[in-house]
């Protein structure tokens, strides 16, 4: 399975604008829900407990296929990208510094792409 190797064109403009508007409203709703509506009123503990894991549950799922099967190589695993991802993960985990992780990940990517041609 290699996602997005063929770049199909988005021709259905109605669907496109429906998504832009509803996704905008929905995303705003998610950002506003506690800050604007619920405020400091207590939420059920189990809801908060699940919310705490949204970022670590969603973003890795989004990223894992992109790392293993990058569309730029037609979906074949690529050493430079695998190494860059590993370096980013390790640096971010150890230093807790987002920008240092991105920087070293990018340096790894470009030097490996250059080395491996």
């Amino acid at each position: 399975m290699n996602p997005a190797t063929d770049t199909a064109l988005i021709t259905d403009k109605t669907a496109l604008w429906t998504v832009i508007v509803l996704l905008g409203l929905g995303s705003y709703g998610l950002r506003f829900v506690f800050l604007g509506l619920i405020g400091n009123r207590a939420m059920p503990e189990w809801v908060l407990r699940h919310l705490r894991y949204t970022a670590v549950a969603v973003l890795p799922a989004l990223v894992a296929p992109l790392v293993l099967w990058p569309s730029a190589t037609g979906g074949d695993p690529d050493t430079a990208r695998l190494l860059a991802a590993a370096v980013t993960l390790v640096v971010g985990y150890i230093t807790r510094n987002v920008l240092a992780a991105i920087g070293l990940g990018a340096v790894t990517l470009y030097s490996m792409l250059w080395l491996l041609g």
Binding site: Y53, L89, R96, I102
Partner: protein, 241 residues
């Protein structure tokens, strides 16, 4: 006196937000490029970035739209990607909940990964800050982040597919998100959630329309919450036999 402390907080926000330009610019450029390659014009690409203002969700939506996924699948997947915004909203409410509604409404719009990361850290480091300082800081932090997002999208949409593939811009997305996630993996529950999420995403990658993402997201969340609950039952983080 208050005036100078709020000004200082604003400047601190600017300082903390500014380095994120190195992420926002390639990421925004990439979205503009990907969107135009998928058949969107400049207005449509820019509207995406202004109305939705959430990179990962925008990429997910454009990819699914180009696969002709049903509208509800596009919305469900992209909203799942943005579910973390609700966590950000809950996390900042104790700090900013006392602000007037119109200010909270504006803050909610600008609540993105980078502004949240800045504010969350700064509010913990500066417990002496009152509401005015916290608000000034937030607006300082968003100033170098959010306008750049629109500008970079616009620029990316203008240059379209003229960026050479050797730039490997495609990998700006995974690197950014790995870097955001890695520092969060500081408890067993967070690590378990991420691990299950990766395993499920790969296992279910064959599902149509990227629906493996939804499966993996739910499985990861349930795992994190369940591990946390069990660790809380057992003192010192040990699960009883």
């Amino acid at each position: 006196m208050t005036h100078s402390t709020t000004r200082r907080a604003f400047r601190k926000g600017l300082q903390d937000g500014a380095p994120f330009a190195v992420v926002i610019v390639p990421f925004g450029l990439l979205f503009g490029v990907v969107a135009t390659n998928a058949g969107l014009n400049v207005i449509e690409a820019l509207s995406f970035s202004i109305v939705v203002i959430a990179g990962a969700a925008q990429f997910t939506a454009v990819q699914l739209l180009s696969e002709n996924a049903p509208t509800w699948v596009v919305l469900a997947s992209a909203l799942a990607v943005n579910l973390r915004m609700a966590m950000y909203s809950a996390s900042l409410t104790p700090h900013l909940g006392a602000a007037p509604l119109w200010k909270r409404a504006i803050i909610a719009y600008f609540l993105v990964d980078q502004t949240y990361a800045c504010a969350h850290m700064a509010y913990e480091k500066n417990p002496d800050w009152g509401l005015p300082e916290k608000l000034s800081y937030f607006f300082g932090a968003l100033a170098p982040v959010c306008p750049l997002w629109y500008a970079a999208t616009f620029a990316g949409a203008m240059v379209g597919n003229t960026i050479p593939p050797e730039m490997a811009l495609d990998f700006a997305v995974p690197i950014t998100f790995i870097a955001i996630i890695a520092p969060m993996l500081n408890t067993g529950a967070h690590r378990a959630a991420a691990l299950v999420s990766v395993a499920m995403a790969l296992l279910f990658s064959g599902l149509p329309y990227n629906m493996g993402l939804l499966v993996a997201a739910v499985a990861g969340m349930v795992t994190g919450a369940e591990v946390e609950r069990r660790m809380a039952l057992a003192p010192f983080g040990r699960v009883p036999e």
